[in-house]
Symmetry: C2
């Protein structure tokens, strides 16, 4: 299964995927291409350092989303992308892109959705004073962080936390959860029924992927 | 510290408080009185079986919330209540009651607030397909499940769960979390600053009360 990873920032989730792939831990998934809307982001440097093909579609070059989307699709299709992974990709995708990869775009979000959707989720959680937060891998639909939830991991908020320490603790779980989901999808163990996602072949306890 | 517990249903959270009190695990807190708006609920039977004073304020006898609230306040004050614990109490409290026990009313909610506020939280979570849910103890303010969060416990949703098995797993955490918070409040280890709650004297890791 060819995975196209879209990035905008530092690329630590991309790095986690690269590292797992090198250790043979992504199952039948391979990273086929890395695309970004930010020409000089650190994530692209990570991709190049790993010898991965990259492409850039700078959103500032497009006046309408449809054109931006089509350029992304071209970059992904050039490498026979089967699964699109948004790993810190900070642009909302349009209908054309969603329709082009139906049920094959996933995103990692740094909160326990449906709580704290949108940007700065860690700050939202910190300022809300929650004692438990976490991260979510979900299918992407037309809304902002509203698609079917595939897997989640909980993270305890510590009394001495500030926004940054909470962000770091959540990020460590992201690095674990996203590759596990990519592998499960590549192994065709993820099924969706009526917006509810089931992962087949988990441990007898039936716990979901967050316990991997 | 005299605790007044308000109940409407089966009273398993009340029973957990009763059991902990008997084992000397509520610290300086004692259950002073149990009040209910449902005359024949099982929770009242549990209270009587434990030899606790009880009172009933049937909301159907009151045309306005203020009168209902005042009757509750009378029942609680008759036993010198310092802290009001809503343990499955299914009525929203009015301003008079909130003003009468400022910062001294807490509630247990079967979800990780701010997600799934309101009634049937477990069903909301189950139908949303989340992989992590839990419970929350929070201070009560004028909104529905919107007050400052004191403690939370996470619960994993299992692949084979239905609404009832999820409800039971969350309930087991409620039974642990609520007495721990009552004890911490009675020991004056719970402080609130700018709607954010801190619990003093926790383990060096600084994790919040859910790890007790």
């Amino acid at each position: 299964m060819n995975v196209g990873v879209l990035v905008s920032g530092s690329g630590t989730n991309l790095q986690s995927l690269i590292d797992r792939a090198r250790r043979g831990e992504l199952g039948p998934a391979r990273i086929a291409v890395v695309g970004s809307n930010v020409p000089d982001c650190a994530a692209l440097a990570r991709a190049r350092a790993a010898g991965l093909p990259t492409f850039v579609v700078d959103h500032r070059d497009y006046s309408a989303r449809a054109g931006f989307d089509r350029a992304l699709m071209t970059g992904l299709r050039a490498h026979q992308t089967d699964l699109v992974v948004l790993a810190g990709f900070m642009r909302v995708l349009g209908e054309e892109m969603l329709g082009s990869f139906p049920g094959r775009i996933i995103n990692i979000h740094p909160a326990l959705l449906p709580a704290f959707a949108g940007v700065r989720a860690q700050r939202q959680a910190y300022e809300a004073g929650v004692k438990v937060s976490g991260c979510t891998v979900h299918y992407v639909d037309g809304g902002v962080d509203t698609g079917p939830i595939i897997a989640q991991a909980a993270v305890l908020v510590h009394e001495e936390d500030d926004e940054e320490t909470l962000r770091a603790r959540i990020l460590a779980e992201e690095h674990r959860l996203l590759p596990a989901v990519v592998r499960a999808i590549a192994e065709r163990r993820v099924v969706i029924e009526d917006r509810k996602v089931r992962i087949l072949g988990l441990s007898p306890s039936g716990e979901s992927l967050r316990s991997l």
